[in-house]
């Protein structure tokens, strides 16, 4: 039993260590000036994707439900927090404190949407969550594209037509400009903040999984009827896991929004493709495997950029890597080899200790 506890802790420590090591290596490379500006610009989005992949793994791997609208929750978190930061830029001058509150706002709003969707849908069995979240992601994206919000001395003005119909005073400022989104969000996030948020996300999810709540959620995933017969409240724990997953996606959105000066809801960043992309990270990294999701997110985000020199062949190689990863992750032979290596490693470690 002690062994098991140690194994879990060891596993988690490896994950944390991996992230911190990657961070240190990146920092050294940055200080040496070895990183192209393109790659440098990719660091914060990378953290965003890692958070998204890890948080989606809670829904897909631990809860066992399919969500195809994770980008939607990210979108909600991004816009609500960007709006918050813009509104409070004058009142809260300390960017650290403001960003902290922005994270709370983004997480809370995304969680609220998670709960609103979860309450009706998670009561059902089957793939309804996938269908509803898919629709949610698209609706949110399209809705934000037609929202106009302004603020003047009289307060907030809201319209769904154009900036003129906001009827603002002369001193008014347009906050959300329909398809042009939010411009001038304070640039509060950076690579260090991103890594900290990644670590916090991993901390929350791994600790959740190895707790009473996590056991209940996994019990529901493995056998709903048996879980009910043990007195586990199905809806409560499904909702809890799903809303935590959604709120962490919201946090990813906050990080994403505060890295850009202009935040727009495009199909590219908050659309269906993005949701599928996150799901691909989770599936290729191994469903329920937190560390795998991180590695898959990093590789699949960096790969297209690293292959940029190959021009036309870029996406071809990307596709081949996707297929190769899938084969190597799931084929029985590959799993066998992996296990062999890990047991060898373990026994050699034990041997050393005994000596």
């Amino acid at each position: 039993m002690k062994n098991k506890f140690n194994k879990q802790t060891k596993d988690n420590l490896i994950t944390y260590g991996m992230v911190i090591a990657a961070f240190i290596i990146m920092q050294i490379l940055l200080s040496m000036g070895k990183v192209s500006s393109l790659m440098e610009g990719l660091l914060v989005p990378l953290c965003t994707y890692v958070i998204l992949a890890v948080s989606l793994n809670l829904t897909v791997g631990i809860l066992g439900e399919l969500s195809l609208g994770h980008a939607g929750f990210m979108c909600v978190g991004a816009f609500s927090s960007a709006l918050f930061s813009k509104c409070t830029e004058a009142t809260i001058t300390n960017s650290g404190i403001r960003f902290f509150f922005a994270i709370l706002v983004g997480a809370a709003v995304a969680a609220v949407f998670g709960i609103l969707i979860g309450i009706p849908v998670l009561r059902l069995k089957g793939d309804y969550l996938a269908i509803v979240t898919l629709a949610f992601g698209e609706i949110i994206k399209n809705f934000i594209n037609v929202v106009y919000l302004g603020r003047d001395s009289k307060g907030f003005h809201f319209s769904m037509k154009d900036t003129m119909s906001l009827n603002m005073e002369a001193d008014g400022e347009v906050l959300i400009k329909g398809a042009q989104g939010i411009t001038g969000t304070p640039n509060d996030s950076n690579f260090i903040v991103g890594i900290v948020l990644v670590l916090v996300t991993i901390f929350i999810i791994t600790n959740l999984v190895n707790s009473r709540t996590g056991r209940a959620v996994m019990a529901i995933r493995d056998n709903r009827i048996a879980a009910e017969s043990l007195g586990i409240n199905i809806t409560k724990y499904k909702l809890l896991a799903f809303s935590i997953s959604a709120s962490l996606a919201g946090v990813a959105g906050v990080l994403y929004a505060h890295n850009l000066s202009t935040l727009t809801a495009l199909p590219k960043n908050f659309g269906y493709n993005m949701s599928i992309m996150i799901l691909v990270f989770v599936v290729l990294g191994g469903i329920g495997n937190i560390r795998g999701s991180i590695i898959a997110a990093v590789i699949l985000t960096l790969l297209p950029e690293l292959l940029r020199g190959l021009n036309d062949y870029r996406m071809l190689i990307y596709a081949i890597v996707l297929i190769a990863m899938m084969l190597f992750n799931w084929s029985p032979k590959a799993i066998e080899v992996k296990e062999k290596i890990s047991t060898k490693f373990r026994t050699s470690c034990k041997g050393k200790k005994e000596v």
């Binding site: 039993m1 062994n3 098991k4 901390f203 929350i204 600790n207 959740l208 707790s211 009473r212 709540t213 996590g214 056991r215 209940a216 996994m218 019990a219 995933r221 493995d222 056998n223 009827i225 048996a226 879980a227 009910e228 017969s229 043990l230 007195g231 586990i232 409240n233 199905i234 809890l240 329920g288």
Partner: protein, 252 residues
């Protein structure tokens, strides 16, 4: 007063009368058997007792408390735990975690305490581990505590399911064909385990079984079901010698 008092329980699925006018009284500490041909409605009765189905009529009283029509989650909290005919373990969780999932409502700490690993988390988890290991020892599963549940051999999976049900600290334990698919040796071992559980935990047990050796070996009283109705009930040897039971179920 009886621990479980079921009166005139009935349910229909469409035009099919699955259970009709079923009554039973089980005293505290009794080992009661429910037998009958396939399709007689035995598992349906379990589902009615545990709240998976709501009865159309009749009442279920557990320990003086009317639990008719409550949800299965609430009924478990009231003190009825069960196992399943087709094993329903949490197969991607460890053996220990399966039992700890059963302890879910016995030990409490909040989700926040779990995430932040506050002192209460460590304290309660330690208690849970001890309790779970204690239960696993009863079923001699302590060696396999860290195995995945799906990697256990069949007989041990059955035992684990009983251990998990007992973890919810029930007043009444329902076993749905615990010996199904077991060889005679395993069945013998299971009989000993059931007798031990009954003594050790002072448990009242209602079991469905087709293995007559097991039924006649450990059950004190029996109810025989046929086509959703009670065909006979009473002391085990009397029931098993009943003419109607022999024709309907046992065979000449």
């Amino acid at each position: 007063m009886a621990l479980l008092e079921v009166k005139n329980l009935g349910i229909s699925f469409g035009g099919l009368r699955a259970v009709n006018n079923f009554s039973v009284q089980i005293e505290k500490g009794q080992l009661y058997g429910l037998i009958g041909p396939n399709g007689a409605g035995k598992t349906t009765i379990f589902n009615l007792l545990t709240g998976v189905y709501k009865p159309d009529e009749g009442s279920v009283v557990l320990d003086g408390k009317n639990i008719t029509g409550k949800s299965n989650i609430d009924i478990n909290k009231e003190g009825i735990a069960r196992t399943f005919q087709n094993i329903r373990l949490f197969k991607d969780m460890s053996v220990l975690d399966n039992v700890k999932a059963g302890l879910h409502n016995q030990y409490h700490y909040s989700t926040i305490e779990g995430i932040l690993r506050l002192p209460r988390y460590h304290k309660v988890e330690k208690e849970m581990n001890e309790k779970a290991m204690e239960l696993l020892k009863v079923f001699s599963l302590e060696e396999e505590a860290n195995y995945l549940a799906s990697n256990l051999p069949y007989g041990k999976q059955r035992k684990l399911e009983i251990a998990r049900a007992l973890a919810t600290n029930p007043k009444l334990l329902l076993l749905d064909e615990p010996a199904a698919g077991m060889n005679p040796n395993e069945t013998k071992e299971l009989m000993d385990t059931i007798s031990f559980v009954r003594k050790h935990f002072d448990m009242t047990i209602l079991l469905i079984e087709h293995d007559m050796k097991l039924v006649s070996g450990i059950c004190e009283k029996l109810t025989v079901l046929n086509f959703g109705e009670v065909l006979a009930e009473g002391k085990t040897n009397e029931v098993l010698n009943n003419k109607a039971v022999i024709t309907a179920y046992l065979g000449e």
